[in-house]
C-alpha cells in the first residue's frame, strides 16, 4: 500500500535527559499513544533502545521510525510512521537541533536547555504545527522566535571553574540561578 499523500509527517517529538526523563514532548497523532502512561512507556522503550547507540541516528521501535540525536546529556527524538520518508524526519530533527544550538549558543545541554525552556517550546512550535512541518530552515526559525538566551554568564563562570574544580563549578552555577529565581 502506498502512503496516503498528506502533510501530517511527524507523529511525535520529544527531548529526554540522560536518565530517560521527559523534558519536553509533543504527540501530534492523538491515536498513537492516547494516554500519558502509554506515551511515557514508549519514551522509555525508545530511550532504552537508543541511548547506548547514541551515534546511530535512526531506529525502528514499536512499529515507528525514530530519528534521533544526542548532545552531552540530552536526547532529541522525532517519530514518524514506518512508511515515512526518513529524510523528511531527519530534516525536522536537524532543524530542531541546529535552531536550539543557535539560541543556546552551542550549549546544548540539559541545564542550559531548562533555563531557556520557554525558548525551546517556541522553537518546537515554529518547526512543527500539529504534525505538519511548518519550517525546516533553522535561520528562519531563529528569526521567527527572536529569543534572547538567559543565564549564560553562569556558563562562562562554570567554564572557568571547570578547569580547576568541577564539583564547585556546578554548585556555583546552581546558586547563581537560585538567586535569580
Amino acid at each position: 500500500s502506498t502512503l496516503e499523500p498528506s502533510l501530517y509527517t511527524v507523529k511525535a517529538v520529544f527531548i529526554l535527559d540522560n536518565d530517560g526523563n521527559r523534558l519536553l514532548s509533543k504527540y501530534y497523532d492523538k491515536e498513537l499513544y492516547p494516554s500519558m502512561k502509554e506515551q511515557k512507556n514508549f519514551e522509555k522503550n525508545v530511550f532504552n533502545k537508543t541511548h547506548k547507540a547514541d551515534t546511530d541516528e535512526i531506529a525502528f521501535v514499536e512499529g515507528m521510525t525514530i530519528v534521533y540525536k544526542c548532545s552531552i546529556d540530552l536526547f532529541f527524538y522525532v517519530v514518524g510512521s514506518s512508511q515515512e520518508n526518513e529524510l523528511m524526519l531527519m530534516a525536522v530533527l536537524n532543524c530542531l537541533f541546529e535552531s536550539l544550538g543557535q539560541i543556546l549558543r552551542k550549549n546544548v545541554e540539559r541545564r542550559c536547555l531548562l533555563d531557556n525552556l520557554d525558548g525551546v517550546f517556541l522553537v518546537v512550535d515554529e518547526i512543527i504545527d500539529g504534525g505538519v512541518i511548518l519550517e525546516s530552515d533553522p535561520q528562519q526559525v531563529i528569526q521567527k522566535v527572536n529569543y534572547r538566551v538567559r543565564h549564560l554568564q553562569s556558563q562562562a563562570v562554570s567554564t572557568v571553574w571547570m578547569n580547576t574544580d568541577s564539583d564547585m563549578s556546578t554548585i556555583l552555577e546552581d546558586t547563581d540561578d537560585y538567586r535569580k529565581l
Binding site: T55, S82, L117
Partner: protein
Amino acid sequence: MSLFVEQICQLLGSGSNPFQHLEKSAVLQEARIFNETPINPRRCLHILTKIIYLLNQGEHFGTMEATEAFFAMTRLFQSNDQTLRRMCYLTIKEMANISEDVIIVTSSLTKDMTGKEDVYRGPAIRALCRITDTTMLQAIERYMKQAIVDKVPSVSSSALVSSLHMVKMSYDVVKRWVNEAQEAASSDNIMVQYHALGLLYHLRKNDRLAVSKMLNKFTKSGLKSPFAYCMLIRIASKLLEETEAGHDSPLFDFIESCLRNKHEMVVYEAASAIVHMPNCTARELAPAVSVLQLFCSSPKAALRYAAVRTLNKVAMKHPSAVTACNLDLENLITDSNRSIATLAITTLLKTGSESSVDRLMKQISSFVSEISDEFKVVVVQAISALCQKYPRKHSVMMNFLSNMLRDDGGFEYKRAIVDCIISIIEENPESKETGLAHLCEFIEDCEHTVLATKILHLLGKEGPRTPSPSKYIRFIFNRVVLESEAVRAAAVSALAKFGAQNDDLLPSVLVLMQRCMMDSDDEVRDRATFYMNVLQQKQKALNAAYIFNGLSVSVPGLEKSLHQYTLEPTEKPFDMKSVPLANTPITEQKTEFAPVATSKLPEKPGPTRQDIYQEQLAAIPEFQGLGSLFKTSEAVQLTEAETEYVVRCVKHTFARHMVFQFDCTNTLNDQLLQKVMVQMEPSEAYEVLHYVPAANLPYSQPGSCYSLVRLPEDDPTAVSCTFSCTLKYLVKDCDPNTGEPDDDGYDDEYVLEDLEVTVADHIQKVLKPNFAAAWDEVGDDFEKEETFALASVRTLDEAVGNIISFLGMQPCERSDKVPENKNSHILFLAGVFRGGHDVLVRSRLALADGVTMQVTVRSSDETVVDIILASVG
C-alpha cells in the same frame, strides 16, 4: 556561610532540574502576579513556562483552576514583551481543551493576526484557529483568506496549515478558500508552496479529475520545495494506482524524472514510490534500484537505512533486481547501526543463493544479541522465508533457531521463533524429531503461557506419531507438576492424545490422568476426568470424535445457540448440528515485512466474516426462519471492472435455502437508482421465493439487494445450477454537483453475467487434525470409490489445486503440498455437507501422461457420497 551550605544542600537534593519538584498548586498561586501592575514580563514568563512544563509532564488541571489561570493569563496581552506574548499563544493552545470560555481571547488574537507586528501574526493565526469552531470560523473567514495570500511567508504558511487542520471540522467553509490556496501555491517561498499544495490536495482528493489537473500543472511548473516534490510524487503514485494507468503515463515519467532531482529526499521518495508500485517490471525498477544502491554507501545513517529498507521491499517481489546490490549490502552487514545491518542481512537472505546461506547465518549469529527485539523478529521471518525457499538447509536453520530460542528475548521474538520451527517441522517431516526436541527443551523453562500451550498442543498432535512417543511423556507431565492452570490443562489434553493413539502407553497415561484428577484447578480436573472416561472405553470412534478432532463449530455461534436454547424450554436435546461451523482459519497469512508494525491489539477472536453476515441477514424480516447460516461464499464479480454499475454477489447457503446478496455500486454521478433488484432465472428446479430490493442507490454509495431461493427438495442431488441475472431499477437523473434528483424516473435494466452455484457452495470446510482417526470414525457404511482420468492436467500440483477448489473442502495433514519429484500423491479432504453430514474424501493421484485419480468418499449419509462422486464425474 552555613546558610549558603544549606542552600547548596537543597539544590543538590533537587538535582539540577529547576522544574523537577514543581507543585501545581504553588505554581497556580504564583500565577496571581499576572494581575499585578505593572506587569513583570520576566517573572510572568517564568510562571507560564512552569505551567506549560507541568501540562507537558501530564499534570492534571481541573476545569476550575485551569479556567482561573487562563483568565489571569489574558491580562498579559497588555504587555509588549515579545517572548511573553508568544508564550501566551502557546498557553492558549495548550489549555484550549481544559479551560472553559477560551474564546474570550478571540478579539486579542484577531487583533494580533491583523496587526503590524509580523512576528505575532503567524503564531496568532495558529492559536486562533485552535480555539475556533465552524460558526466562529465564518466570522474570521475574510481575515483567513487575506492571510493565506499574505506576502509574509510565515503568515501565509500559518494560515494554510491552520486551514488544513480545520478541514476535518469545517470542510464547507475551508473549501471556499481554494482560489487563495491556488495563489499561495505559486509563492516563491518553499514552505508556502508545500503547505498550499497540501491544502489543495486535501480539498480536492475526492475529485480525481481535479487532482489530475493539479498534478499536471505543478509537475510542469517546477516547484522549488523538496517537500512539495515529495508530496507531488505521493499524489502521482496514488493516482497511478487508482486509475491503474500503465507505466507509459506521464505521471510515471514525472516520478522517474524525480530520480534525477538534486535533493536526496526527493530522489529517495521517487525511488520508494516506484518500488511500491504494483506490477513494476525489472526494467522499470532498475533506475530506482541503482539510486538506492548509491545511497547504501552514504555517510548518513538515515539514508543508508532508508535505502536498505526499500531494497528489502524490492527483494520480496523481485529478488533478482537486487542481486546487483549484493556487494553493497554485504558491506552494510558490519554497519555500526544494527538496524541497518539487520535489514542488509535479511535482504541478502532473500536474494542470496543456497550456497551463501551458511555464511550469512554465521554472520547473523555474530550480532544477533545486539539488536532490538523488533529486528530479531525480522531476522526470524527472513529465516522462515529462507526455509521455504531452500528446504534442504533446514538442519542449519533449525540449529540456529534453537540457539536463538535459548537467548533472552521478549514474547514476540520467542513466538516468531516457535512459529518458524513449527513451520519447518510441517514442511520437512525428517526434521520433526529434532524440532520437537528443541521445543520440549524450550517449554522446560518458558514464561509465556501462550507459547507453552501452543507447543503442548503440537506435541499432542505430532508426538504420538513419532517412532518413540514415550520420550515426550516426561516433558509433558513435568508441565502438569510445575506450571500454571492454563498450561496444566493443555498438558492434560496432550497426554490424552498419546493414550488414545498408543496402546502400549495407555496404562501409564491412565495412571497420570488419575493424578491429574486431584489437581487444584477445576478445568484441569474436568479435562482429566473427561479424558479418563473416554480413554477407558477403548473405542476408536470415541477417541476420534472427542480426543483427536474436537468441536468444529464456531464458538460465538455455539454461545448464541445455547443461549437461544435456554430461552425456549423444550424436551428436545440440544442439537449440535444447528450450530454454525467455524470457518477454518486460512492456514497462514504471509507476514509481509514492513518492518512490521508489531500489533498492539490483543489477539482476541473477533466475529468472523460469516458471523457478521449472519447478523446482517437475521435483521431482514424476509429471512426469518431459515435456520443458521451454513456457508458464505467469496464474492463473485458479475460485471466487468469500470462499468456504469458494479455488482458482485455473495452466496449464503442455509439448510434448505440460499440467499444471494448483490452488492451494487452506482458509478454514474448524474443518476440516482431506486428499487434496485437482481432478477434471477434458474436453469434447474430452484425456486426464487422473494426479492428484497435496495430502496436507493445514490452515486458511489454501495447498497445491497437480496434474492431468496429454495433448494429443490425432491431432488437432493441437484446441487449445481446456473442463474441468468438482470439488474432492474428505476433511474432518476440528478444534478452531478448537488445530487438533487428529478421527480420523475424511468425503469431500466442491465444484463449481468451468469451466476453459478456449485457443489462447493454446499460444503463447509472443516479441518480434521487427525484425518485417519476421522476416517475410522465415519466408517465405511456408505463408502464409494471411483477412478477418473484427468487428461488435461499436467502436474500433480495442478490436480490437487483443482480438486480442492472444485469441492471446496479442507485439505488435511498438509496433503495439499505435493512433495517435489514424486509421481504419486494422496490428498485428504474434509468437510461438512449442508444439513450437517460429515464428508471425507481420500484421493489417490498418479502421474502418467495425464493424471489418474482414484476418489474414495465416506460420509454419514449415502446421498452426500453420491452427490460428491456425481459432481466429480
